[in-house]
Amino acid sequence: MNERIIVIVALISLVVFFRWYIGWRSRRATQQDVKLTHFPLGQAGIIALHTDHCVQCERLQKPALERLQKRRNDIAVVWRSIQEEAQLVKQLGIMTVPTTVVRNANGQITNVNMGYVDEDVLMQQLAIVSAPPHCL
């Protein structure tokens, strides 16, 4: 029984480590000197990366981005596949889909979310980089 408890503890530790690792990879991605030109300077936006058979991308992330755009129509959203953005994926070390890359109006990456995030999280991230139009 002791060995089995050790296995469970090891499993939990692995999961905790993986969670930290994804966070570290995301933070490291924001530190890369990559300028995104998917939309004009002066506009904040999101590049959302997906693959063809990714159910979470189509059924969760895409609708969340659509709901976000209804709330923030000043934010540009670009929906791209991993194959279309192979260079960006390599530069940022993106590991999974859906991944959303938040860019500020100066073209700098401020957040890289590896995995699904809902519109509330994206709104919080966008609030830091770009005030909604009615606040200006």
């Binding site: 999961v15 905790v16 693959t51 709901r67 991993i82 194959q83 994926v89």
Partner: protein, 139 residues
């Protein structure tokens, strides 16, 4: 677009219940936990109103011990993940019945690990695999 009302709290409660049942079964070496886990997932997929973990959840909500978290979210990806988990536990169940404890518990540990990842990070194992395949194809 069709509107969905999805309770994330119910999903999380179900996942945690499954993890607890399987983990206790593994630690105490009780193969019935694998059968129970498979039944839990099957009932959640086929008859959610009668799934034991969801009945307990509704009782908790009724007593205000747990709050619901209703979102505008499509449940399809979560159901897909549950189907995958059920498939793996079926393998574990068959292995346990046929006497192969190693395969049975290995399958159980896979389900525990992926459920834990999903509960704590929202990580989608299938999406991760698709991304790696797409990256390899691009390279």
């Amino acid at each position: 677009m069709k509107a969905f009302r999805f309770d994330r709290s119910a999903l999380r409660f179900g996942q945690i219940s499954l993890i607890v049942v399987l983990a206790i079964g593994f630690v105490l070496n009780i193969p019935y936990a694998i059968y129970a886990g498979a039944l839990m997932l099957l009932s959640a997929l086929v008859l959610p109103a009668w799934a034991p973990q969801l009945m307990i959840y509704r009782w908790f909500v009724h007593n205000n011990w747990v709050n619901t978290a209703i979102y505008d979210e499509d449940p399809a990806p979560h159901r897909f993940a549950q189907q995958m988990g059920f498939g793996v536990l079926v393998i574990g169940t068959v292995a346990a019945i046929l006497g192969s404890a190693m395969i049975a518990w290995a399958a159980t540990l896979v389900v525990i690990a992926l459920a834990l990842l999903n509960v704590t990070t929202g990580f989608c194992a299938g999406c991760f695999v698709y991304a790696q395949i797409a990256k390899l194809r691009s390279a």
